[in-house]
């Protein structure tokens, strides 16, 4: 039986103090890794005979504009299909140089999700075979999920903010 405690001990044994912020929200082991170590951590989780986290369920980013120097978080969700155990880990990067190593060499499913994450957050996945926009229009010149960009379409002419619950007299 693969317990969170056991996974945590194995990770600390391998990486020491490099991994921080261990927690278990809703019973799912979560931790933070330095962004240079993301591939090493994933490779260890993938190869270890006991851990066998060989499926990347999800990969996405979060933007924390107030978190200076570590504005963008990339979140990896890994799944051990044999024991049906899931873990999650995050790496943080600055928004000035959002370079993170790609996971495509390890997980094929990372290909699509990293393109999507690049499309919406502008994370530069170093080594990705085809890093270009996937969902948005090709001529888009910004990363729409970053907080500094308004959600609303700026070309709209006939939509009254007041009617959409934003500003106006109904503050």
């Amino acid at each position: 039986m693969l317990t969170n405690e056991h996974i945590k001990n194995k990770l600390i044994e391998k990486f020491g103090d490099a991994l921080t912020d261990f927690s278990e929200p809703y019973g799912m082991l979560t931790f933070e890794a330095p962004k240079d170590l993301n591939l090493k951590v994933m490779q260890f989780l993938f190869d270890d005979a006991e851990l066998r986290f060989q499926f990347l369920t999800d990969l996405q980013a979060v933007h924390y504009p107030d978190n200076k120097g570590r504005e963008l978080a990339v979140v990896y969700h890994l799944h051990n299909l044999a024991d049906n155990v899931r873990i999650r880990f995050k790496v943080f990067t600055s928004i000035e140089q959002p370079d993170v190593y790609t996971a495509t060499k390890l997980y094929e499913s990372a290909n699509w999700m990293e393109r999507e994450t690049y499309d919406f957050f502008g994370i530069n996945f170093v080594g990705h075979p085809n890093l270009k926009r996937i969902l948005n229009v090709d001529e888009m010149d910004y990363f729409p999920m970053r907080k500094e960009f308004p959600l609303e379409d700026q070309t709209r002419v006939d939509k009254d903010d007041e009617m959409f619950g934003r500003g106006g007299s109904f503050n």
Binding site: L135, V137, P144, L151, Q154, T155, K159
Partner: protein, 217 residues
Amino acid sequence: MKLLSLDFVIQRSLSNYQIEFMSRPVQYNVTPIPADINNSLQVAPMPAGHSGEGFFATKLESVVGLARANSIWPLPFATSCCGIEFMATMGSHYDLARFGSERVGFSPRQCDLLMVMGTIAKKMGPVLKQVYLQMAEPRWVIAVGACASSGGIFDTYSVLQGIDQIIPVDVYVPGCPPRPEAIIDGVIRIQELIHNEPLRRRNSEHYKALLESYGIQ
């Protein structure tokens, strides 16, 4: 006294009615009323003109308008829930065929009426425009539902804020989604437009300027 008795008669007849018709919730058409074919059939009205012994003279425009209006071939461009309402509109219950539009074509070359139903994402915009360009003149466009007309609730960076940003629209059908009756109403309004359209409209400067404003031709 007379008034009272009349009141009584009315009440009696009402209760008879209730017994006869309202107390059979699971039975239908027990005593069906035969359809009055003579009153329910409608023939397209004759255009204004001069008639006499064995002849009828009118404008070519009116005849062409009459023929076109009652044989529209719709091209459905359905992307979401409004498309489901359109399916109901085409189905036997609402039956768009009654208006001469049963021939739904999925080839732009043969169709007259582009029906855009549902949210059009910006990425879909060039596709929609190409479909419009592939249609032969005369062509009409109907925007069904809030999303096709204005972007609807999707006031967001990825959604086109109304298809009239990329192609000219003749009729807008409001609703989210509109009921089949509303879609039929939109088609009838298109029919009125077609019926009254001058033959030279598509060659006019005004129409060319309209297309020019969309960057077409």
